[in-house]
């Protein structure tokens, strides 16, 4: 039986590649309390911007996907050794990016599902969202550009973030995400997280086969 949710809010942050945290902080300053702003990472800022205009409630669930997780914050934390920085330690722990935003808002949520995979991350994040009984699920994702870990091939080469609000209400929806089980269906390549962000930004459809079924994201 097909499992589906409707997409009601989409916002994607795709800053130009040279943007660093300081520039994002200046660009997005009006979206965050000043006290929180100075401590936020680039990923936290982008996630907060993607969530701009979404009023969460304690009954909502959040699914947060990132292949590299808080790798950029981790680079900074390591640079603080041997006098390890408590602030940088906190922000280096997954899911620090989304916690920066929700703690800044003092916004409790019932369930938060932070994923950190790679090859089938999008499929797994969407499945996690579809299995959520909460009436409203916020699907978040993002990466931030690494520095020395990027030179070694272990960090993202770009920064981006997205937020999509998923509900069971078809009325007024911008799109639909669904999974239809197909016994024995072979796995195809699953779109990467950046490809999902691009599809959400451009409202282009996505479809693939994996985890024993067909996946699709379509737009109204």
């Amino acid at each position: 039986m097909t499992t589906a949710r409707f997409i009601h809010h989409v916002r994607v942050e795709l800053p130009p590649p040279p943007e660093a945290a300081a520039e994002a902080r200046a660009r997005l300053a009006d979206k965050f309390p000043r006290t929180a702003l100075r401590r936020m990472t680039h990923l936290g800022l982008l996630l907060g911007s993607a969530l701009d205009g979404v009023a969460l409630t304690p009954d909502d669930a959040v699914v947060y996907a990132s292949s590299y997780a808080e790798t950029r914050a981790l680079e900074d934390f390591l640079a603080s050794f041997p006098a390890a920085s408590p602030l940088l330690f906190q922000t280096s722990i997954h899911p620090g990016g989304v916690q920066q935003v929700l703690i800044g808002r003092q916004q409790p949520v019932t369930r938060l599902w932070p994923l950190a995979g790679r090859s089938r991350l999008v499929e797994q994040a969407v499945l996690t969202a579809l299995l959520e009984p909460a009436p409203r699920v916020v699907l978040l994702g993002g990466e931030e550009r690494g520095t020395w870990l990027l030179e070694q091939g272990y960090a993202s080469d770009r920064a981006f973030a997205f937020a999509a609000v998923l509900t069971r209400e078809a009325a007024g929806a911008a799109g639909r995400v669904s999974f239809s089980p197909q016994a024995g269906a072979p796995d195809e390549n699953c779109p990467a997280l950046a490809a999902l962000a691009a599809a959400l930004a451009a409202r282009t459809p996505l479809a693939w086969c994996g985890a024993g079924g067909d996946w699709s994201i379509t737009w109204s």
């Binding site: 050794f81 041997p82 997954h94 409790p108 369930r111 797994q124 089980p181």
Partner: protein
């Protein structure tokens, strides 16, 4: 109103762990004897630093291959046969550390080979290759409630019929990276943890730990019957002062406990404020239910603690006697804190909990016949 818990009785086909004491049965035995695995160890390993309580399977300095890999192999040898990592038998990996200690090793040694198992996905790719899992490996990381998330997600996969069996695999090994971080927060200091004790100062210990569970739809004698989660988002490292986050999670799971006679395996790291809020919360919601923590011996195995301590709880139930709160001392934050071992007979359920940074709370109910 509190969120309804997930209620789907997932049978535990197998569940095992590895701690400095050995497997789950050896660990439960050591805890019953009141032994501590924690020892005072320099916080940065061979780089020195203040002595802090760590429970390690070996020296924590990073090696090539990583020091955790042989331990993971030792544990994985006990996983029942299956098409693990296939669509119908997926794997859920839960960890808060992964191989992050390798990053610290790289910054110190400049040997790029350390990075091949530093990031979460690189660590899991190494695990996949070593343990011959397929591609369907979901990775969760949510600090110290991570293993609870993995188990809850596994139950959802079974309930939805998208999986036949699910392997949840968790591992967290201490490194200077992690020990240094907790030391910087001033909650890992020179004192041994005394969970739920009304002391002058609180302190945690950290421990190596790995565990797995195989969950299946058809119920066995031991079942994970319900899961509840709550994220208060009040502060990065603190909880709401009146304990509202603990109360929300416990109120959510209370309906699933029903009339069962339970004992509680709490989180109990040894910090004062969280320990007080936790113990008082249990006493309010489940008055009279004995409360234990084992982190005064095993240390805090971080993202893996929920699964490591589940395996120990199962072994304790099989042995007929539940270990008390090793390292605890009177007076405690509530009368329910059990300092000494007690008989498993007379109970028909266990509430297992964990708490994490960001005010994340997790609880699950283990039932048995």
């Amino acid at each position: 109103m509190y969120a309804a818990p997930d209620q789907f009785p997932a049978g535990l086909e197998a569940c095992e762990c590895l701690t400095p004491f050995g497997d789950a049965a050896a660990t439960a035995g050591a805890l019953r004897s009141g032994r501590r695995a924690l020892e005072l160890t320099p916080v940065l390993g061979r780089d020195g630093g203040d002595p802090v309580p760590l429970a390690l399977l070996g020296p924590m300095d990073e090696t090539l291959p990583p020091r955790w890999l042989p331990a993971v192999h030792r544990l994985a040898a006990q996983i029942p046969a299956g098409s693990w990592g296939s669509a119908r038998e997926p794997v859920v990996v839960t960890s808060s550390n992964f191989g992050v200690g390798s990053m610290y090793a790289f910054t110190r040694d400049r040997d790029a080979r350390h990075l091949a198992h530093g990031t979460p996905f690189a660590t899991v790719e190494l695990l996949r290759r070593e343990l011959r899992w397929g591609e369907h490996v979901t990775v969760f990381s949510h600090a110290c409630v991570t293993a609870h998330l993995g188990l809850a997600h596994a139950a959802r996969l079974l309930q939805a019929g998208v999986a036949d069996r699910v392997l949840v695999f968790s591992f967290d090994f201490v490194s200077p990276f992690v020990a240094g971080g907790f030391h910087s927060l001033k909650i890992l200091n020179g004192g041994m943890p005394a969970p739920y004790a009304k002391g002058e100062t609180g302190s945690i210990g950290l421990g190596d730990g790995a565990a797995f569970a195989v969950l299946r739809r058809d119920a066995g004698p031991f079942r994970l019957a319900a899961h509840a989660l709550h994220n208060e988002m009040f502060h990065f490292t603190g909880n709401q002062p009146e304990g509202a986050g603990f109360a929300a999670c416990l109120a959510s799971i209370a309906g699933a406990v029903g009339g069962r006679r339970i004992w509680i395996k709490g989180h109990g790291t040894g910090t004062l404020e969280a320990g007080r809020l936790e113990a008082e919360g249990y006493a309010r919601q489940f008055p009279g239910a004995p409360l234990v923590s084992w982190k005064g011996s095993l240390g805090h195995t971080l993202g893996s603690c929920g699964l490591v301590e589940l395996a120990v709880a199962l072994a304790a139930l099989r042995g007929g006697e539940i270990p008390g709160t090793v390292g605890g001392a009177a007076p405690s934050f509530s009368a329910e804190v059990a300092l000494a071992p007690f008989a498993a007979a007379g109970f028909d359920g266990v509430l297992l909990t964990a708490n994490a940074f960001g005010g994340a709370h997790a609880a699950m109910v283990l039932t048995y016949e």
